[in-house]
Amino acid sequence: MTTMTLAGTLVELDAEGFLVDAGQWNEQIAQEIAAGNGIEQLSDRHWQVINFMRKSYLETGSAPSIRSLGKTSGVPIKELYELFPKGPAKLAAKIGGIPKPRGCI
């Protein structure tokens, strides 16, 4: 667990860089996490995915996996990988300030 300042807010991050408290999140923090992970500017399509993930997490208590994102977010899997290189669900969760998707167990 580490503490650091993102967009002027003191936040706690876990070992893998995920926000510990989803309630501390805001859009500026999202921009900073994105920049730190190689995404300079978050587009509308990025936000569509990030907001969808946050909404599902806050409603259901877990973040969707890539496959369910592809089926339900309105953004096909191919594009998810273009928007969030390597691990879209993981990276979008990290930027969205929610825990790592639990699909991978």
Binding site: S62, I66, R67, T72, K78, C104, I105
Partner: protein, 420 residues
């Protein structure tokens, strides 16, 4: 009037819950188990079939014969469930009402979800050992394989028994060494995860074991499509891996009736379930056991076994109108075959990752956690008769209770530099 309990699925979970309920209620409950076939497969045995270490007929028994007298077994395909009306429609047109429904239909393999996977090469250069037919067809393919690239590909998570693909690599390594062909074959494990396993300490230990055995790991590779003619795998982010023989673990989802049942399942067909009470989130009188649920632990027989107690207890509490018990803790354990008559064992729950230590008694064992031993291998073999004669009938296995006991594990923080 007797409680009407309908159980969908006559596999590990459906069978052990039916038997426990029948013992608890006797004539006070009418218990119906529905399955579309009468072949109960001991799924941990599938791993051994391709290597000729087990014969196919040794891992299959009739489903009905595992159920106690007094339980009604029906061969039928489920059309859909109406949770508002509390009814199950069967494809043959019959409608069953229930007081309690147990969903125990597991996870199904969906090779058709991946472009190029289930075409004409399926069964010739593309195989799986995750089904009985697949495991049987893979045996001659492995025997005929004399050199080249053997690729084991986990297409996407979640899958049943996430360690089985690793075990397959270990056993392939062993078999190829015995045949004097190991130097002719490159074995690669392809996984969408960032390492060999989902939890850090076990992932590091298993990663080291793969390296020792010269098995390559291609991590964070999410397979988008298979070019079966060129014999290449393509990731969503445009990476490419060539193979000569592909052993694929197809994506898993729920059975199709879940999709046809309004408000029951999630996007993948798994049933949203309370992770501690195992009651479905869709309806108070629907409980879920085993791979069919979305609880965040491994899809594994051990999980199903440990969930059984909670499901049976909570069905009773629901019928009595009392508060449910939040007793399931995510407990899972798996033996991991590593070849050469050895295995290692991991034991974990929702909160504690697999760590070194002893099992089932802290400090005493006799089984070692997260390290290879011959005794672990023998224990894995010994488990199969226990499965048929103790676990399915719904008896307790001595020393192996449902709750997880983290005592005497070494906390991850006390260890530096990863596994020894």
């Amino acid at each position: 009037m007797a409680h009407r309990i309908v159980i969908l699925g006559g596999g590990t979970g459906g069978t052990l819950v039916a038997n426990r309920l029948q013992r608890r209620y006797g004539r006070q409950a009418s218990i119906t188990v529905i399955d579309r076939d009468d072949a109960h497969v001991y799924q941990p045995g599938l791993l051994f079939v391709p290597f000729g270490l087990t014969e196919a007929e040794e891992v299959v028994r009739p489903r009905h014969a595992q159920l106690r007298d007094g339980i009604d077994f029906r061969l039928a395909e489920v059309a859909s469930v109406d949770i508002a009306a509390a009814t199950v429609d069967l494809l043959d047109g019959e409608r069953l009402g229930y007081d309690v429904l147990v969903i125990a239909t597991g996870a199904s393999l969906q090779p058709q979800e991946t472009e190029g996977l289930s075409g004409p090469e399926w069964g010739s250069s593309i195989h799986t050992f995750y089904s009985l037919e697949g495991a049987i067809a893979l045996r001659p393919a492995l025997e005929a394989f004399e050199g080249g690239r053997l690729v084991v590909d986990i297409i996407d998570m979640p899958i049943k028994c996430p360690v089985a693909p690793l075990e397959f690599c270990f056993l392939a390594d062993w078999q190829l060494r015995q045949r004097g062909l190991r130097d002719e074959v490159e074995i690669t494990l392809v996984t969408p995860l960032d390492g060999a396993f989902t939890k850090p300490v076990a992932s590091a230990r298993l990663g080291a074991l793969l390296e020792e055995k010269n098995i390559r790991v291609e991590a964070e590779f999410a397979t988008g499509r298979v070019d079966a003619l060129a014999r290449t795998l393509h990731s969503w982010d445009e990476r490419e891996i060539s193979y000569d023989l592909l052993v694929a673990v197809p994506v898993h989802g729920g059975p199709t009736y879940i999709e046809r049942s309004p408000a029951l399942g999630d996007a993948l067909g798994f049933v949203p379930t309370d992770r501690h009470t195992l009651q479905s989130k869709a309806a108070a009188n629907v409980f879920v056991i085993g791979d069919a649920s979305d609880v965040p632990t491994s899809k594994a027989g051990s999980v199903t076994h440990f969930e059984g107690e909670t499901v049976v207890e909570n069905i009773q509490r629901h019928l009595e109108g009392s508060e449910l018990a939040s007793t399931y803790d995510g407990h899972a354990n798996c033996f991991i075959e590593t070849g050469f008559h050895k295995a290692l064992l991991i034991d974990f729950d929702y909160d504690t990752e697999p760590l070194p230590g002893r099992f089932p008694e802290p400090r005493l064992g006799p089984l070692a956690l997260l390290s290879e031993s011959r005794l672990n291998h023998l224990a894995k073999l010994a488990f199969q008769p226990l499965y048929w004669h103790v676990l399915l009938p719904g008896h307790d296995i001595p020393g192996v209770g449902a709750p997880f006991h983290p005592a005497a594990r070494q906390p991850a923080g006390h260890r530096s530099g990863g596994p020894r």
